[in-house]
Symmetry: C2
Subunit: 340 residues, 2 copies
């Protein structure tokens, strides 16, 4: 299997990307294609004694910055490391793509270069969040600030396929992020989506109030991209607020440090669970091949885990499963209209 990785995406590029890629070659048995400045990649690898065995390079000197207009990836930056990676993906040179670069550019680039899956209205950003009982996927967490109800149904299907195929959750519970439990709650989009989700090929369990997100009773949370982005960032923000509070409780005095020794194992387990670098990245769902958005501040371990996640998407045939689910709806609605 070949995973294409943008060597110049994220705050720690290219060194941490190269390290993560080398770890993936060694531990996962995959081949890696890095995109970006070949001289710089080779120099960084040589300086840090990183083997480039199993790693090939598609050279370009151009990089898209996170402050650039996302659409520039299909215009003046169409030769950047992210664009070339997506092009290689579209051309079948690799099985999946990983980048820690600009989210906006990745959404635009993946949509127009690697292309959406047939029948999918919009790509959606889907991070995996830790919960009390495991993990949940949030779709959409920011690719589309304005959504229509039928898009939310597709988000539900894509999230279900991922959780079932990659995280091996049997019949994952899907819920709609809303302001109350009743089916009359929310704006027009939630009221319409609720009705449509009841007939969708997913295990729809109704509305989810945000206070229940950390419980982990639900494995796929469906939302428009604006609300989802706010929820994602607040989830992350509260997580780091608590980590910081806990650190202050344990590290700012002698008795605190003593207490820390006593509960070290549990504190470490909690921190590991909240650590995004262990989870991988957010999946950009709805593209013809697996695309993973790694966190901007990813280190080698985070890149390794994002590559592992990309491999799991390929191994689990998430894209095939989404296609089959979409076909199922299509043929059902056909039968429905024939009956009429």
């Amino acid at each position: 299997m070949k995973i294409i990785v943008d060597a110049f995406g994220g705050d720690n590029a290219p060194l941490e990307v190269i390290k993560g890629a080398a770890m993936a070659v060694e531990q996962l048995g995959v081949e890696i294609i890095l995109t970006g400045n070949e001289n710089k990649i080779k120099a960084a690898a040589a300086e840090n004694n990183i083997s480039l065995n199993g790693i090939s390079i598609i050279h370009t000197e151009s990089v898209i910055d996170i402050h650039e207009e996302p659409t520039s990836i299909i215009k003046e930056r169409s030769d950047c490391s992210m664009a070339l990676g997506l092009k290689a993906l579209a051309d079948g040179k690799g099985d999946a793509f990983v980048s820690a670069g600009s989210t906006g550019a990745l959404v635009v680039g993946a949509t127009f270069i690697a292309k959406r899956l047939k029948g999918i209205k919009r790509a959606a950003l889907a991070p995996i969040l830790p919960t009390d009982k495991g993990y949940m996927m949030l779709v959409d967490a920011g690719a589309n600030v304005d959504c229509r109800p039928e898009m939310l149904v597709q988000f539900a299907i894509m999230g279900s396929c991922y959780m079932e195929r990659v995280l091996k959750v049997n019949s994952p519970k899907v819920e709609l992020l809303n302001v109350g439990a009743e089916d009359t709650k929310g704006r027009d989009i939630e009221i319409q989506a609720y009705k449509m989700l009841q007939n969708a090929p997913v295990n729809f369990a109704g509305n989810l109030e945000a206070r229940d997100m950390p419980n982990g009773d639900c494995q796929v949370v469906v939302s428009d991209g604006f609300t989802g982005n706010v929820a994602l960032k607040l989830y992350e923000g509260m997580g780091s607020y608590f980590s910081h509070t806990l650190k202050d409780m344990l590290m700012s005095s002698f008795s605190g440090k003593l207490a820390a020794l006593l509960i070290m194992k549990k504190v470490k387990a909690f921190k590991k669970k909240m650590d995004y670098s262990e989870i991988g990245g957010a999946v950009l769902m709805g593209i013809s091949r697996p695309v993973i958005k790694a966190h901007g501040s990813s280190d080698a371990n985070a890149f390794y885990n994002a590559i592992r996640q990309a491999k799991n998407c390929v191994d689990g045939d998430v894209i095939g499963e989404i296609t089959r689910s979409l076909d199922m709806i299509k043929s059902e609605s056909k039968t429905g209209s024939e009956v009429k």
Copy 2:
């Protein structure tokens, strides 16, 4: 000063309401008017040795349930304890109103019985949330799932007046909850509201990404009611998830319990900060007199604090300050059009 309190709102009515009211009479020197079944109130007070000195009662046997349609407060439930409290407020029998009953019914009832302030387009629910540096107000946290940009500007003004007059924050920083920092981020409503907030009589500091909410750098967070409700509930949900995790770290083993003893003071301080019952309730902003929505599960202490908060709104003349700010915009826009 007279504070009207719905004796039959919330999970712990009427006993905890009566206890909180008696505490308020004793400690704050206010008079209380309770609305609800007089016999039941007197029986509960007698059974629990609570003095009803300084407390009068407006009798009704009707109560509005949280599962009832909110609009029933102005129809078949127009004689319920919440409605009679709002009517007494409108008639000037008291200076402020507190209820832990149905939020929806309170929004409808306050709007149509106690009436909106002149010029205010919509009432907004504004809870006070704890942050790393103190407290912030979130407006709107759920009264209006659909909003227009000019409503968000009014939310900003009302939140500013409260933080300045009640929590004594000098020139409180106002930010717009959004998916990015740039003024081009968000949906049409955020883009329009951003422009309007720049010219509003508030200390507008730009967009706020949800991950920065717990930091406490901003004291008034402005949002449409749908997004605000999701943010509020996630804030609360993450808070209790963390409290529960901390409890598990400290209470599930002998070494944990030992650690708990060592950091007890800091844990208690943190729990007190996160405890809504210490803060009071959410303010229903935009009504002609102060209205406080206490948490549904309020105990006596929470009711006492909600009454204290109502008193502070009256003492700080929040309503007067809002009226003056609205007049300022009106006269400015008049001058503006005259100049044209």
